[in-house]
Symmetry: C2
Subunit: 449 residues, 2 copies
């Protein structure tokens, strides 16, 4: 009761700052744990910049890593990473849920908003029960994934203990969109197993939709007309991006002998779809990212920048931001004065938030890429990819992360942190401060474009 | 009188389509002229894709060219290019002025808008006199530049005839932000002359402000309080970008022996400023673009994407679009419900146009870069630079343009055309169609970011 009151009080006072501090604190704790000798396979202390990087990468569920997870860490170390992913993932979802609650309280439209989100007031009226719903839903999804994965991994590893461990790790890694692998050469050869491919695809897909959407889907199922606007936009945009991305990846890489070209037609289609889902933001890879053509890398860059659903473990500017931008263009082209879709008007405030999120995201990516290009001395392509992978908390890698000097690792660490916490806190800070001006300035239209 | 009525009628009916057709027609005429044997130095027919590219590059005042202007074209051919630049530049300014007029007429706020723009109704009430003002202003500026440049070029060339020709060509090329050079090795060594550097910098700077701003400045001079919002935003953003860009270019390249490092401190500062102004969108270069560090190229990419002032010969998404985005972020961060600056509220419609221009520009760049990367088989860095140079009608080049097969040249040609005409027609088409909805949908706020 006391803890609940405290959390509610702090979060109500400055939820943005709370989220930021909480994430930083959790990352530091895991950095300390990973630095200790017990965590590394060779029993030695891990360098600070590497421990910090992996801790940040786990807690922000990014999946980039400067060291090979299978070779660097002991079983205990890998368990620490698993716990960090789970805490990070739950933390993100809870924080998002709490902030939604805080926002709705502050704006005095709490009950209305909660109804809109498709959740009955009774169940999540309290902070505690809200958190319970988040935890229960997450564990339920992960359990479902593990049930399919454990037998398959047991068959591949030839040992039940290893199969269970692999099944649990990859279930958590997939649903939280973490993208960490505990096989030295990545999932690579295991992805020849369609059961594993499709289960991981499904887990990543569901995890990237976001808590508000998952809740609506669980409650309303496929009754389209009863979905709220956020769910409709998220689902349609996600499906469009997944199918569009898969189509283009398939088109670009169809006869690249180092990537899709080495497989049969069925597998090419399967891996195109897998690759497309992984950009939003699973981070598992079937083949070496560097072997893809430059146009595929650029496409992946764009998809990683967009990321997944709001209040999900995915990163990026979020699919609803993209949807709102697209709807704004359609409205302008049709000459409408308002941006409308599915029988609803998008609030002008949402457009302002969208443009802010987009502009801040682009600025962050630009500045980080400049820094990384300067530090690594590389041409644009690989640093940009790595930066977008960190910003989108995606975890796909060209291998540059492992090659960087400590300075470069700190840049990516900061970017993962900013990409993860920044969007939540920024968006929520905006939503919370609706100061009214006491007077209005006259309107004026500068010439745009 | 008849002509005036016809122009006014057509432009009133569909100004966007008119602009598009006019530009296409003019480009085709100059393609035909440049294809003829008299235009080339060796007296042979020039390949269609090269003639089309140079014609498009001249008329859209971009300055990219797949052939060396000094070596490929005869004096007559260079004269054709000069005329194409002048017609293109005047066409852009006139079109912008006409569209401003058409928009103001259609919206029934004509006199108000014209007053806002700082021009007395009497002088540009008619289409004809508006065009006369545009032509007179342009020629006046070019004359002023030529007066300074001709003596310098005469001194360098050692011949009055050549000096006059060079002076006129570079005056037109600079004020129209065309960036074409008629020296085989570019302006390079001539830029050791501070008179030439600063005159060209001034010409490009003035040309990139845009007609509406230049008119206000000519009328109101430095009476800041009497400037309209568009002028204030354009001037402050341009100055900020120029100084910020120069600072970063200087910082990045200070000790690069292939670029700034080879000069003295004074020249390093001078060339940093020159380089920064040229990205918006003059296109002249002191040293080989490829010799710059990757971080400088990326900075240049960003500056070229932004481009210059609205209704100017510069390209890109325009500085006011950037300013409005920045102001939107500031407003969000402060919790204001309205985007305000300099005692004015930015109309929500302007925000919608800004987000549309930005999103369309980014999409165009993304798709074109994918195409160019696929066609050239190059890594991302050079194709992206070339695409942004074409989109921003900037004309700085990594040399990739000259290396591309015809398919790549067509991509860049289309991009120059779209980058130039697209923004005008798009923005004006939007401004003209203010269809009112008869009913309103209820508002709903999807979660953004
Ligand atoms: K990830
Ligand atoms: K130019």
């Amino acid at each position: 009761q006391r803890v609940r009151g405290f959390i509610s009080g702090v979060a109500g006072a400055s939820p943005a700052r709370t989220a930021l501090l909480a994430f930083a604190l959790v990352i530091l704790v895991f950095t300390a744990l990973l630095s200790l000798p017990f965590a590394s396979r060779d029993g030695r202390v891990t360098a600070f910049h590497d421990a910090l990087f992996v801790a940040a990468s786990s807690v922000t569920v990014t999946g980039l890593t400067p060291v090979n997870t299978a070779e660097q860490w002991s079983f205990a170390g890998q368990l620490v990473i698993l716990v960090a992913i789970q805490i990070g993932g739950l933390g993100i979802l809870s924080m998002a849920a709490l902030l939604t609650l805080a926002v709705s309280k502050r704006l005095g439209v709490r009950s209305k908003l909660i109804t809109q989100e498709g959740m009955s007031t009774g169940r999540i009226g309290e902070v505690g029960s809200l958190l319970r719903v988040v935890v229960a839903t997450t564990l339920l999804f992960e359990l479902a994934l593990a049930v399919v994965l454990i037998p398959r991994f047991t068959a591949h590893a030839g040992s039940l203990a290893e199969g269970v461990w692999h099944g649990i790790f990859y279930s958590v890694s997939a649903f939280n969109n973490a993208g960490f692998t505990i096989h030295a050469d990545g999932l690579g050869s295991l992805l020849q197993d369609p059961w594993i491919v499709w289960t991981i695809t499904a887990g990543v897909f569901a995890g990237a939709l976001g808590f508000p959407v998952v809740m609506v889907l669980l409650k309303q199922r496929w009754k389209w007309s009863r979905w709220n606007l956020h769910t409709k936009l998220t689902v349609t945009t996600t499906v469009a991006l997944v199918l569009g991305g898969a189509l283009l990846i398939g088109l670009f890489e169809w006869s690249n002998p180092a990537t899709l070209g080495q497989y049969g037609v069925g597998e090419r289609i399967q891996y195109s779809l897998f690759g497309s889902v992984m950009t939003r933001s699973g981070g598992f890879a079937v083949y070496d990212v560097n072997e893809q053509y430059a146009e595929t890398l650029l496409l992946t860059d764009a998809l990683m920048f967009v990321g997944g659903g709001s209040a999900s473990t995915a990163g990026g500017i979020k699919v609803t931001t993209l949807a709102v931008m697209f709807l704004a263009i359609v409205a302008e082209a049709r000459g409408d004065r308002e941006v409308t879709t599915h029988g609803r008007t998008i609030a002008p405030g949402s457009l302002r938030v969208a443009i802010s999120v987009l502009a801040l995201g682009a600025t962050l990516v630009l500045v980080s890429t400049m820094a990384l290009v300067a530090i690594s001395g590389e041409s644009l392509q690989r640093p940009l990819f790595e930066v977008l992978s960190a910003f989108g908390t995606c975890g796909l890698t060209t291998g540059l992360t492992a090659e960087l000097p400590p300075a470069g690792k700190y840049v990516l660490t900061a970017l993962m942190f900013a990409g993860r916490v920044g969007t939540i806190t920024f968006a929520s800070a905006l939503a919370l401060r609706q100061r009214r001006n006491l007077f209005r300035y006259p309107e004026e239209r500068p010439i745009i474009g």
